[in-house]
Symmetry: C2
Subunit: 520 residues, 2 copies
């Protein structure tokens, strides 16, 4: 992230990067790929795993999944393992397991900045920003408003700024002030210039998917062959639960599969609405919907990287509204984790809440969902920062509050927190202090105190009186102030001027051609 | 909790209990003793457990613990297993392990209402209210003020009201408007009349401990023999870290040990201040300080119930202020859980935060500490509701917010959330809905929807617009409104009039005698 001659110069005669670093808004944890060292929490015993597997397989065998994409139907028909009945595809468990076994259990995705390469699978735990809320809320506005390109850009700056955010999700807020036909062009230009982390493409029609792949290729300075050689980006599709895959999502899925890019499939199986009211039934249905998409990808391009996602939660049975971060949500996530390990596939879950503002409820619901991600062995945590109102609102304050929690989870995973070498047990230090005195001044403490403990950037650890003297500022207001400081000091990551121009020209040409149809 | 002729009638010609129940402030989960069904999170391997055990044993063998209580010194001298050097007691690991093995791994405590009996140990997970803050904060005051008896009474009403609170801790706020010499008499009268849950005694001088034991005996309608026959209450003592037990705490410890009451010892080993800056060293020191108190209790009364507590956290190395709910705190709690199982002793931890007000920070820190309690296999969770500012403030809003989280943890532990019977997998339901439609109306949903999911009392699951129409109220304000409603509808649990009078007379007599000395 150090300066580069190719970096676009910002207007206004600002001081250089060194000066700005000196007044950095926060001291944050370094970029790293955290390793989830905890044994997962596993509510299911072997019989439970077998029961959910059998349920998922019987859904695929006996009920089948509707594929509203004729090309997918044809590919599955030719695969020889499916029974096709109009749009309904049924597949036997042997065929499913044979194809699913072709998907790798771990793979890398390399963005334009190779230092921000991520590894999906194994024990890795990765976080992405909030994706796709149509609305925005911040403390200054104090109300919910439709998203704009500027709001989207600001949230992308947070996505780049925070080292605990490993990949870029969908649009962090939908910029409804940009026409839908060209929105993907403008936002991808913003994403690729404001961030240098792993990119996502919406699977909403061939133009959008192809444009994004082309822009990611250009931004990486890659030939088509280099782009195809390994995962450079990913898409995430949702099934139309119950038991249906629509046309454009599967179209994008197949396009990325052909080019060996990464694929995430996340059924949105709200128990009691689009899935059974019982959590293990909702999980079984979610798995069936996800696994048949993985099968399709493996038929098209054996070995291409696939991730199964979970979005299984429950509704409020009084109102039908979705609820998130609930006890049932946590168990569904943990159960899905066990099943992902059973199928040996990487897994995605989310950092979610139903709260409308960044208050206590937002944080206990989000904490519940993030700890469930940790406990389930999730590899990609979507929406890990910035989500409110069940995904209908993006908030910069919530983004920054969530990053404080994410940094703590990263620190929690460092083996130093539970090391037991003789230096850690510290018998000599304990002896030297004895039965009177304290450990503040001794050498054992002096040698370690700067790195011994997690240092928060947003939590206020002052006592009440100190906090009051400093303005008595509650958490969301502190986050809002940091948001303004981060925007002030933000610098775009370096990009070669020629590449930037090629990107601009691509956007201009595709806009001239009309962008993408909006009848999806 | 049903009406009783003996119940004290409230003034003001209120409607009866039935009417009040009809307009209950909240629909809460029923009283129950949750079973922690999760496998604990265990950061230590066998070598790590051995290293911490060896550290704790070498502290006891080579450094020793100062006991500032001559009676305890004499008892330990006569035990034959200790080396006494003035106030310093050293004990060999064989002696320690032999005595610790006498303590039960599980026991019951029976309060005056036997329906509120608790089981400590095994897989049980119990929650207690915040204890001992000198100050109080609520949304109406909007500031930190010294605690009063009325504030204490109101927090005791919450302690009784919420079924997810299983035992009463120390004073939920210190009522500094009551003179210290008689404070224990007035507050115990309040505790024993406002609540009927398991009682706690501070070990602060013989008068306080003996008075509380006597009042618990009277409130239970028990003979001295019946009181002594099984645990009716408990105390919690803290060591004066590093490596010291003071006079009054150990005095109370011994008094309860003699009468077979329950004993909790919780060293306050802040890493970097009163303990090594390294977490496993702080845990080893905490265990040494706790285990030697358990040894003393087992020498006095073999088999009496003992619990080891952990309060190991880290300080903010910038200011020296204690921090809570940190990543290091979580790991220390989990490590202590592994060691408690190694010693086969029940364990206590806490629900804690450093935040000064009930905001987002308060809830992520509290969530971290509560999930660490769950992950560690903690049996008694102190301060599980109402704690702010590192324990210096009690808040009714925080109390109510925490109870929402506690209820969710209880629901999370219900096996229904991850059951996998054929009815749960629900293949027939999935078949009946097929590839179109939804699950709202089907019989499988109708049969289950009222109990399928956790129903919150404080979380607001309305969408933003619905929430705005309802006043746009943030979580702490909603909690404050509930607080006022609960106070309005609160009814004291029934108590026999004769017992109540005996308690009053005891308080009056002991006040006349001067209460307790205040030079402790």
């Amino acid at each position: 992230m150090a300066g580069s001659d190719n970096r676009r110069k910002r207007s206004g005669g600002r001081a250089g990067a060194a000066t700005r670093r000196g007044s950095a808004a926060i001291e944050q944890s370094p970029w790293r790929l955290p390793i989830n060292v905890d044994r997962p929490t596993e509510p299911l015993d072997e019989d439970g795993i077998a029961a959910i597997h059998d349920g998922a397989m019987r859904i695929l065998e006996e009920i089948g999944i509707a594929f509203l994409n004729p090309e997918a139907i044809e590919i599955l028909r030719k695969s020889g393992g499916c029974e096709i009945d109009g749009e309904i595809v049924r597949m036997g468990r042997d065929f499913v397991m044979e194809k699913v076994a072709l998907a790798p259990s771990q793979f890398d995705i390399t963005p334009r900045n190779p230092n921000h390469k991520i590894t999906v699978g194994g024990k890795h735990l990765l976080f992405g920003n909030v994706s796709s809320p149509p609305n925005y809320w911040d403390m200054a506005l104090g109300k919910k408003v439709p998203g704009t390109r500027e709001m989207c850009q600001n949230l992308l700056k947070l996505t780049q700024y925070f080292n605990c955010i490993h990949f870029s999700g969908g649009y962090p807020v939908e910029p409804v002030d940009v026409h839908a036909s060209v929105r993907h062009l403008d936002v991808l230009f913003d994403k690729l210039t404001i961030t240098d982390k792993v990119m996502h493409a919406y699977s909403l029609g061939k133009e959008r998917v192809e444009d994004v792949m082309e822009m990611v290729r250009i931004a990486g300075g890659l030939s088509h062959e280099e782009f195809d050689a390994k995962p450079r980006m990913y898409t995430n599709i949702n099934s139309t639960s119950p038991l249906k895959h629509d046309y454009p999502m599967i179209d994008g899925w197949m396009r990325l599969a052909r080019r060996g890019q990464a694929l995430v499939v996340t059924p949105f199986t709200l128990a009691g609405a689009m899935a059974p009211v019982t959590m293990s039934g909702a999980v079984a249905q979610s798995l069936a919907e996800a696994l048949c998409a993985v099968v399709l990808a493996q038929v098209i391009n054996p070995g291409c990287p696939c991730v199964i996602g979970t979005f299984t939660s429950n509704v409020d049975m009084k109102s039908g509204a979705p609820a998130f971060g609930t006890p049932e949500y946590m168990r569904a996530t943990q159960m899905t984790g066990q099943m992902a390990r059973f199928y040996d596939l990487p897994m995605r879950s989310s950092g979610v809440c139903a709260a409308n503002v960044p208050d206590g409820q937002a944080m206990w619901e989000t904490s519940n969902s993030l700890w469930a991600a940790v406990q389930s062995g999730t590899h990609m945590v979507y929406h890990a920062a910035g989500w409110l109102e069940g995904g209908l609102i993006a908030s910069p304050e919530k983004f920054i509050m969530d990053c404080e929690v994410l940094q703590q989870i990263q620190r929690y995973m460092e083996p130093a927190t539970f090391a037991t070498t003789p230096d850690d047990i510290a018998l000599d230090a304990i002896k030297s202090v004895g039965n009177d005195g304290h450990f503040f001044g001794i050498q054992h403490t002096q040698d370690r105190y700067t790195t011994a403990f997690y240092q928060p950037f947003l939590s206020d650890w002052k006592n009440y009186e100190g906090w009051e003297v400093a303005g008595g500022i509650w958490t969301p207001e502190r986050a809002h102030n940091l948001f303004l400081q981060i925007l002030e000091e933000f610098e775009e990551p370096p990009m070669d001027i020629a590449i930037r121009e090629e990107l601009s020209e691509f956007v201009a040409r595709r806009k001239k051609e009309g962008g993408a149809p909006t009848d999806y």
